[in-house]
Amino acid sequence: MEAKIGFRNTKSIIFKGIVVFFAFLITLPLIIILLYIIKQGASQVNWHFLTNVPAPVGETGGGILNALWGSFLMVLMASVVAIPVGMLAGIYLSENPRTKLAKYSGLCVDILQGVPSIVVGIVVYFWIVKPLGTFSAMSGSIALAMMMLPIVIRSTEQTLLLLPESLKEAALSLGVPYHRVIIKVVIPCGFAGILSGITLSIARVIGETAPLLFTAFGNPYLSSAVTKPMESLPHLIFTYATSPYDEWHNLAWGASFILLMFVLILNIVTKVLTRKWKIQL
């Protein structure tokens, strides 16, 4: 009997060891990637790197200003579209969970979230780039907005569903009309949760390359024209990393480092917000 219990204990310890080992193992890829990118990229980053456009082949120096600015502009334009639309749709879904429309649009949101980013890119290519006859930052933003939408919608919906019904009743019983209840009570109370969904959606699309390949295309010069091609961080990394020049590889490493830092910071902000708000994304 005692031997049997001893055997069981050993099995338990072995099992626990295996679980701990794999829990540790899954942190390794991230740590290795982080260290590698920091090693390769951090040394590239300096003021010159952030404030100059890439140098032509054969010249040293050069930076990623065009890509930084392009990514910023395109994500900003995508946010301007996706955040209000996503919030309004999320409000509808949380307020009317049992309607047919909510069921079907909720399903569509899930499917949209699952659409591969390259497919989003090609659709926008055929809808906008081809008819207009030119690659443009605007079309890139539309592709990014489509990818942001489901995250903003779902996080808004989930956050608002967590708010107790009694909160809305408190406002309604004071004679507050429905639209003011939403604007003055529901959204402010769920603000942290909605904000965390927004930061998460930005973190997700800022690194997207595939939808930008056929839409914003890329541009070696600094540009603010939304109807013209524009560079972005992931696209710059893609083109420069696959080039045959060492100078350009370094540029790509530096850009990777910057992009990674962005995503990391946005994710940490999201984590802090969700923890504060105790929401499930």
């Binding site: 049992r98 009694s166 009743e169 408190a170 406002a171 019983s173 004071l174 507050v176 003011r180």
Partner: protein, 252 residues
């Protein structure tokens, strides 16, 4: 008759096909404290929510019949106006977590976008909190969030919020069922003071509470208003067998 503030005439309420309030006729006078009691699911809360048209906010909920507020049928009035005119306090304290204590008291004005000068707001806040017996406890922390208060204080804050709108009638939906005994007695003590200026309708599943605080008591059973009488009369000598059974604890 001119003393009547609320009068229900053949009032019926439904959730879908479920008939939860059946042909209720009742007449409530000004400055009375009315207790509405009855077993769970007897329609007392639904009746209460019918008075300020909160009932119809629930999907599938409908109502028939009349509820006259000072002679005017609330179902002919704008629901928003009815709700602003009648105060309501809920089962669980529900102060707005994004607003301070001060803002919570004047929430009815803030959220409705009614412009009130700072001086007037100060007066409203002090008067309402004083009436709700909360002023002394919170006067130094008016700009803290309302959710920092204890449950009983939060409930009194909700009462202050209702009073601030200067209603004549305040509805209470089991206002103490989520509170501890000490908070409960402080809220109950408040009812006696509020009676001077307001009419109170208090839904409660607690018979002792009904007996302690009310002038008249309405007993609901299976959606019907079984008996409505002076509280003392009802607890000592109920007219209906069902009331007697309920009071003596044969069912609950």
């Amino acid at each position: 008759m001119e003393n009547t503030i609320v009068k229900a005439e053949n009032y019926n309420a439904y959730f879908g096909d479920n008939h939860v309030v059946k042909d209720v006729n009742i007449s409530i006078n000004k400055n009375e404290v009315i207790a509405v009691m009855g077993p769970s699911g007897c329609g007392k809360t639904t009746f209460l929510r019918g008075i300020n048209r909160m009932h119809e906010l629930i999907p599938n909920a409908t109502a028939k019949g009349k509820i006259l507020l000072e002679g005017e049928n609330v179902y002919d009035m704008n629901a928003i106006y009815v709700r602003a005119k009648i105060g309501m306090v809920f089962q669980r304290p529900n102060p707005f977590p994004n607003l301070s204590i001060y803002e919570n008291v004047v929430a009815g004005y803030l959220l409705n976008g009614i412009k009130v000068s700072k001086a007037d707001k100060d007066v409203i806040v002090e008067r309402s909190l004083t009436s709700a017996a909360l002023w002394k406890e919170v006067k130094d922390s008016l700009h803290k969030k309302g959710t920092f208060l204890s449950g009983g204080q939060q409930q009194r804050l909700c009462i202050a919020r209702a009073i601030a709108m200067q209603p004549e009638l305040i509805l209470f939906d089991e206002p103490t069922s989520a509170l501890d005994p000490i908070s409960t007695s402080s809220v109950e003590a408040l009812f006696h003071e509020l009676k001077e200026n307001y009419t109170l309708i208090i839904v409660t599943h607690n018979m002792q509470q009904a007996a302690r605080v009310s002038d008249r008591t309405a007993f609901f059973y299976m959606g019907e208003l079984v008996e409505f009488d002076d509280t003392k009369q009802m607890f000592t000598n109920p007219a209906d067998q069902r009331t007697q059974n309920y009071i003596t604890g044969r069912f609950s």
